[in-house]
């Protein structure tokens, strides 16, 4: 067998390995129910849940709680199936949090609470102006 053939086989094997590893490590977008099921069957992988903050009729956010020392906070998130879940986050609350339209939480269930390791905020006009502030 020629050396180049051996190298080719090793390269192909490496590519297949990479594809399998990527598929295995890729996270998924799921609902809270699915996430809960995963955690209760012992699957501790981190998943993405997309949801909206719970708001009352006037558009005020409900269920936002800061810890006494401001070092962490929790909030209520409603996923795309309408399930409401309390989410804990281990960092001070970002000031633009309350303005965000959609929140993506990345984390997993620990017992009955959802612990976020990372949150991504989708703010309405973070980069693009939509209205003119009519500079008087």
């Amino acid at each position: 067998m020629k050396k180049s053939h051996i190298i080719a086989i090793v390269v192909i094997a490496a590519c297949i390995g990479i594809i399998i590893a990527t598929a295995g490590d890729a996270s998924t977008y799921v609902s809270f129910d699915q996430a809960y099921q995963m955690a209760s069957t012992g699957n501790k992988t981190q998943i993405h849940v997309v949801g909206d903050l719970k708001k009352d009729a006037q558009g005020n956010i409900i269920g936002l709680e800061k810890s006494q020392d401001n070092l962490s906070f929790s909030f209520l998130l409603i996923d795309e199936n309408g399930k409401e879940q309390k989410v804990y986050y281990n960092e001070p609350m970002p000031p633009d949090f309350a303005r965000s339209e959609k929140v993506v939480v990345i984390g997993s269930y620990q017992n009955n609470t959802f612990l976020a390791n990372k949150i991504l905020l989708k703010c309405p006009s973070k980069y693009q102006e939509e209205k003119i502030n009519a500079g008087i």
Partner: protein, 840 residues
């Protein structure tokens, strides 16, 4: 309304598109034409390309005039600039938007094109066909023309008027409305890195075009091997500039953007990292070819791959497809279709051309021996490609999802949740392989080497590496097996290349570029390993308070709450928050917010007293100076054994338009480690704080009293005739009290005002000492007893929440980057000389 400049700019855009197409066609004809006609076509083609470049310059100047003159009737100026933006950032506005960055890219390629026309007569015609086409595609991205009948908008013009870009009711009432001020440059980008990083990165992008164009020209003209010589110096220059651009981005992220580190494996970062790796691989295969006439086919494939990957990266970052996956991709301008066509055009054309010519490309049937340099370089290039593939695959997950959805399927695949952990786990081992291969390959530098000779040569460097490795792990206490392996591999790479460097320098120092570049890579590997692998959060919350009983105990918090003037301990330092500061624009230093008076213009403040910074007087009392009101700096003192070790000024920018607050770190740099500190939550000044109930005291002049446990004394009460621009008449009574409050470190003055206007109206203006959380009001004057009634309110003292991390040996990474760049430059000079020798 300044319509002319925008129309002119738009005309230039159209002209640049048309002329680039004409030049491509003319160069094409020049290729096909008979020798006598060829010259005419060439002249036409050249003139068109020069016209094209002039038009591009015209577009650049028009856009710059719009920004610089603050023509806010234009969307580009309105959304990227503002009146208060300092001059140097006007330049950054230019390329903040997508259109401007396309323009920057076109501009660089026009310059490179002109350079090639004048230096590459032999290759001019075929190479410039590729250039003309690429320029035409890029120009179409900023065209902003709606094609009639099919109603498709081609490109997004930077010269669009605000009223056409934004649907605001004000334009119905007042079509000529021009906003007084722009919405400003994203504060994150108001940084000198934004001035130099994008031009460098786009120059790197532009520099990947010449090697691709030479490769295509070679295939087309059946000069299968001659194209390598002119392509190689461009590939080296491209790799150096693109690498520099990427690392600048990393350093910027580290120093300013507060992403917590210099590299986060964000899809946008990955999208340039992959082409860079493949570019490095292609340089290596081209070098093999120059020495031994093998690896021609792989050089062709890799050169095409680099350019296609640059286009793919452009597609990823600008089509909006990464929207859910990346924190900093561009917004979608509706160009995705156009970008896709751009990418597919060159991908398909290059692949078809390569397939047609494939059989004719000479190959060497000779097998490279394990003891040859070619074998090892080839192995290294293969590893680099796999390394790139491993990053490319997960980065493309959003593309995969869109693809599945296009065919009606459903895919809920998300990028790995822990991006950094995921990529590092793989890239670490690729790093080990690259280090081992390029370390060993260096022993074959001169010629073929036999087994016994190799063993003799390789043993001393291995022994030295082991000794250095042992010392490092003893000092640094590395226990993690994968880190041990990477450290050893990195040390081996450095030692073996130092070995080569020593012997090469003896013969001809100009050949040492390769060895130096590899040493740089070794240093970078070690720097990355320690600074990331051993980065640790040192600002642990040790108060033991829990947020909820439901939570597991490992729910540790990584932030530290600091009250003003209350020391805490952190990472072996005593740490104390001293208060909020502003930074004068034209003077070096910081000024306490307690020492300034605001004016009506938020950008101008007045010093209350002489201001010193680090023992030097920087401002006089009553000086008016400029500040950036969005910025607040938090002065934090670090002490070791009672001595001040460092003053840190992490910054917070408040900009509601851009989404809340943006923190930038301050870094205490030591030789062996950086202490990286940033604000994770500032106090919200907009929110009215909770004041205690008013407590009333009656005091005389010079009488002491206590407020919020601080000693205070009423020093004097004086009559005033003017307050913040308001003048009082003789009928009015207006007095100002001066109260000194002694804090832990400093004395503060509160100056409440008491007014009786028109004999009946009583006004009281309280005065706050922010740092101490004290508000004092002059409630009443009792002339009969010479006493004054003061109202005292207190609140929680000022605070800030910070996060701090230690990053060991990060300086090795920056130093290694420097060494790599020097290596690249030397190799570049060498290859360029070689090329000149053969072409002259």
């Amino acid at each position: 309304m300044h319509y002319f400049i925008g129309d002119l700019g738009h005309l230039f855009v159209i002209a640049s598109l048309v002329t680039s197409l004409i030049s491509a066609v003319a160069y094409w004809q020049a290729n096909a034409a008979s020798p006598e006609k060829k010259d005419q076509w060439l002249i036409n083609a050249r003139i068109s390309f020069y016209l094209h470049s002039t038009a591009v310059l015209g577009v650049v100047i028009s856009l710059f005039v719009i920004i610089y003159q603050h023509y806010f009737e234009y969307h580009y100026a309105y959304s990227h600039s503002s009146l208060h933006l300092p001059g140097e950032y006007m330049i950054s506005c230019f390329w903040e938007g997508q259109e401007g960055s396309f323009l920057l890219w076109i501009f660089w390629q026009a310059l490179i094109g002109i350079f090639l026309i004048n230096t590459q007569r032999k290759w001019e015609a075929p190479v410039m066909v590729v250039f003309g086409l690429v320029q035409a595609f890029l120009a179409s991205m900023i065209l902003g023309v709606v094609i009639p009948l099919i109603n498709i908008k081609l490109g997004s013009s930077p010269f669009i008027l605000l009223r056409d870009a934004i649907d605001d009711p004000i334009f119905k009432l007042q079509p000529d409305f021009i906003p007084k001020d722009g919405s400003g440059l994203n504060p994150l980008l108001q940084n000198y890195w934004m001035v130099i990083h994008p031009p460098t990165l786009f120059l790197g992008f532009a520099l990947t075009l010449p090697p691709f164009a030479f490769c295509i020209a070679g295939l087309w003209q059946k000069k299968y091997s001659e194209w390598i010589k002119p392509a190689l110096p461009w590939a080296l220059l491209g790799a150096a500039i693109l690498g520099l651009g990427i690392l600048m981005g990393g350093y910027w992220a580290y120093e300013t953007l507060n992403f917590g580190g210099y590299w986060n494996w964000d899809p946008v970062e990955n999208a340039v990292y992959v082409p860079w790796l493949i570019l490095i691989a292609s340089i290596h295969t081209m070098i093999i070819y120059k020495n031994s006439l093998t690896a021609l086919k792989s050089s062709i494939i890799l050169n095409i791959a680099v350019f296609v990957l640059i286009l793919y990266s452009t597609f990823l970052t600008r089509s909006g497809i990464l929207g859910d996956a990346s924190v900093h991709s561009f917004t979608d301008l509706g160009l995705s279709g156009q970008l896709l066509i751009y990418m597919l055009f060159f991908t398909v054309a290059a692949i078809i051309l390569a397939i047609i010519r494939w059989k004719e490309i000479p190959t060497s049937e000779k097998e490279a021996s394990i003891y040859s340099r070619e074998f090892w370089i080839f192995l290294g290039a293969t590893t680099l490609c796999l390394m790139g593939f491993q990053v490319l695959l997960p980065t493309s997950i959003p593309v995969y999802n869109s693809f599945i959805e296009l065919f009606g399927g459903e895919s809920n695949l998300a990028p790995p949740a822990d991006q950094i952990g995921f990529y590092s786990r793989f890239q670490l081992w690729f790093g080990v392989l690259v280090a081992l291969i390029s370390g060993t390959g260096q022993f074959f530098w001169w010629k073929r080497m036999e087994k016994d000779k190799l063993i003799k040569e390789i043993i001393p460097p291995i022994l030295i590496s082991l000794v250095v490795f042992a010392i490092i792990i003893l000092i640094a206490k590395v226990y993690e097996p994968s880190y041990l392996v990477l450290t050893l591999a990195g040390v081996y790479l450095i030692v073996s290349n130092l070995n080569v460097l020593a012997s090469v320098t003896k013969v001809n120092a100009s050949l040492s570029g390769g060895a130096l570049a590899h040493i740089g890579v070794g240093m970078m590997l070690i720097g990355v390993l320690f600074s990331s692998g051993y980065s640790k959060v040192v600002s642990l919350n040790n108060t033991g308070m829990l947020i909820s009983k439901d939570l597991p105990t490992e729910f540790n918090r990584d932030n530290l709450l600091l009250f003003v003037n209350e020391p805490r301990t952190m990472a072996g330092y005593e740490i104390e928050f001293l208060g909020e500061r502003v930074e004068p624009r034209n003077v070096n230093g910081y000024v306490s917010k307690n020492d300034i008076d605001l004016t009506l213009d938020p950008y101008k403040v007045i010093a209350r007293k002489d201001i010193e910074f680090k023992g030097k007087k920087i401002l006089n009392a009553k000086d008016t100076f400029e500040i950036n009101p969005e910025n607040t700096f938090y002065e934090i003192e670090l002490r070791k054994d009672g001595e001040v070790a460092a003053l840190l000024f992490p910054r917070v920018q408040i900009n509601p338009a851009m989404g809340g607050f943006i923190a930038s770190p301050d870094i205490k740099r030591n030789i062996s480690r950086d202490l990286y500190t940033h604000v994770s939550l500032p106090m919200n000044r907009e929110e009215e704080p909770e004041w205690s109930e008013l407590e009333e005291v009656r005091v005389r002049i010079n009488q002491q009293f206590f407020v919020n446990d601080y000693v205070a004394v009423l020093e004097e009460v004086t009559r005033i005739y003017e307050y913040e621009g308001f003048t009082f008449t003789d009928e009015d009574v207006a007095v100002k009290a001066k109260i000194k409050v002694t804090g832990e470190r400093d004395s503060y003055y509160a100056e409440p005002v008491f007014v009786i206007k028109d004999k009946t109206q009583v006004g009281r203006i309280s005065s706050e000492v922010n740092d101490l959380g004290v508000k004092i009001t002059l409630l009443n004057i009792h002339p009969e007893t010479n006493e004054f009634s003061l109202g005292l309110n207190t609140r929680q003292k000022d605070w800030v929440i910070i996060k701090a991390m230690e990053k060991p040996l990060i300086n090795i990474l920056w130093l290694g980057t420097g060494v790599l760049m020097v290596g690249f430059s030397m190799a570049l000079v060498r290859r360029f000389r070689e090329f000149k020798k053969t072409s002259s």
